[in-house]
Amino acid sequence: MATAVCFDNVSKRFILHHERPRSFQEWAIQTIQRRANMREPFWALRDVSFSVEQGEMLGIIGENGAGKSTVLKLISRILEPTSGRVSVQGRVSALIELGAGFHPDLTGRENIYLNGSILGLSKREMDRQFAAIVDFAEMERFIDTPVKHYSSGMYARLGFAVAIHVHPDVLLIDEVLAVGDEAFQKKCLERINELRRLGRTIIYVSHNLGTVEEFCHRVLWLEAGAVRGLGPAREMTSRYLLSVHEKEGKVALAAHHAQVATSDSGPPATPEPSSNDRTSRRWGSRDVEIPAACIRNAAGEEAYLFESGEAVAIEIAYRVHRPVEEPVFGIGIYRNDGVWCYGTNTDIDGIPTSGLSDQGVVRILFPSLPLLEGSYTLDVAVHARDGYPYDYHRNYCTFAVRSRVKDAGVFRPPHRWIIPYTSEKMGL
């Protein structure tokens, strides 16, 4: 198959002018005052190489500032590379510019033709597409109204309709699907899917890993202007999520330790949480201390990303500073919106803990953790049987669960369907 888009060692440098003169006046003032024009090069992309086959849908993921939009702008020729070569076969249309170039005083009809010619179409081609565009945008009644009277939703709908009907060979999409109501979004996705089936080349930038996985054949993962990975969609999104969570985990852990360090130096730690807010991180008398805890996967590796239903173990290291009678170890799992998903401790589960050595590790193993997809935080604690806290870590770390099944709620109890059900068949 032929190549539709090819990046060959492409780098893009921006010069950040801290005090670039914007007018002759400023320029004169700067020259007189002999202020140096601070120039700071910034590499938005560095040695990026990849190619997209015709008919392929490529997703681009990465954190903000990773260079995703720069890639799109290079493909659409808005920017030129500093070095390297960008080659594109055929007409490019970008869904980044919904309604860019609409003139408020012109009617919808006039703007459709204007927008079409901005995208490089002839009048005849536009004549052929006109009815379909109006129909798609659901605008029959307003097509001869100046667009300044349109709502922002109508504006975007018309922009989307034009962009998607110009029959681009390469279609660029940058997170525009947050446009219009849900019904229109669904329509957009359907149309994109249709174009994909028709064998158009599509490059899709999104933070929504779900749609990226669903639609894209391959995914390009950018990090700080460089290619971090390029491969099958699911593999890339998993690796990306994992890295994000590791980073978040590290940040959370660092913040946690910073706070612990400051509270250690102060007066004896408060035995009660000062408030109910979920950010207050650690309290307790420290008769027994939890210096560290971690989450491991089935292979015994420290991990912060799991498939729903995977085996998960939580390990809590402890140190006894003052002998206590039967400390209770507990954990709590919260979803990132604050829903308390699960909590248990050694007392509830009736596990004796007397006669512990001065320091060691306790481990709780979930052969299957059936939480649904989402981000979660973990609390770990050790306290007395009456609830008096020795060491309570709130939001100790975060972890993520992903799932192929898109069911709803908090967790997935093991279940099966029997259809049709007849009592003879069932052993229940």
Partner: protein, 268 residues
């Protein structure tokens, strides 16, 4: 370079639509839009005629015709240049979002002002009839003069449109420059008032000749006047020099624009 021009040709539909957009927006808003485009030169003719024939007692025959022959081309030039200066900056949203040959923007502005110029020329036609100025075969030369002026206007427009992206006060500076330029161009006075011998620091200067050399708008005004007011052909070598200058300005302005246009997006 050639591929650049070929691409420009592919985008002719866009040029057409942008010109149509400019005209529609200009004439749709005011009911009197079209009449206004005629009224403005009429009013200026009235004012200048009163000032020069009544107050200053100049004895130029058929002064309104004399004036309009140069005033309309000047108005075309100055509004087109002002429009071109803002054409790139004013379409920032478009430049940030879509690729198309950027030179289309000043081109469309100049062309839509050309249409206005042709419409406003109806006033001149009226004046020619009112003052019974004979229309001679020299009139056939008029399209050439217009083409040369479009070339010169485009060249200046390209250059300034680009400069304005980097130095935003270009538009303000040019307002003043254009006013001075207007007075320095023989629009409401005949070039003959300029001395052919003027002594400056011991140098004998032919100011009239200098004016034609330095200011292509003066040469163009003279050509329009030859063709329309006097009914004769402009001196061919004179006109050829003007044309060469105009196309040289166009070529330089275009090259400058193309060179700098790749930096537009980052500068905005």
């Amino acid at each position: 370079m050639l591929s650049r021009l070929a691409e420009l040709f592919q985008y002719r539909e866009l040029i057409k639509n942008l010109v149509a957009r400019d005209l529609k927006v200009r004439y749709r808003h005011s009911v009197l839009g079209f009449l206004w485009c005629l009224g403005n030169p009429l009013l200026m003719t009235l004012v200048f005629t009163v000032v020069f024939t009544v107050l200053l007692r100049s004895n130029i025959p058929k002064f309104p015709v004399f004036l309009l022959c140069a005033l309309l081309p000047w108005n075309f030039f100055s509004t087109a240049v002002v429009g071109a200066i803002n054409s790139v900056v004013g379409n920032e949203a478009l430049i940030n979002k879509v690729y198309f040959p950027r030179e289309i923007l000043p081109i469309a502005v100049v062309l839509s002002n050309l249409v206005n110029f042709l419409l406003a020329s109806l006033v001149l036609l009226g004046m020619l009839l009112v003052f019974r100025t004979p229309l001679t075969p020299a009139l056939l030369f008029l399209p050439l003069v217009i083409i040369v002026q479009v070339a010169f206007t485009l060249g200046v427009g390209f250059f300034l449109a680009s400069v304005n992206v980097f130095f935003r006060d270009t538009a303000i500076i040019m307002e003043t420059v254009l006013l001075a330029w207007f007075f320095l161009t023989p629009v409401f006075y005949p070039i003959e008032v300029l001395p052919q011998h003027y002594s400056l620091l011991g140098l004998d200067l032919d100011v009239r000749r200098l004016m034609y050399i330095v200011n292509p708008m003066a040469s163009l005004a003279a050509s329009y006047r030859d063709v329309l007011y006097s009914g004769v052909l402009p001196g061919l070598d004179f006109f050829a020099r003007t044309a060469v200058t105009a196309f040289a300005v166009l070529a330089l302005g275009y090259l400058f624009f193309i060179r700098t246009s790749r930096l537009f997006q980052e500068a905005m």
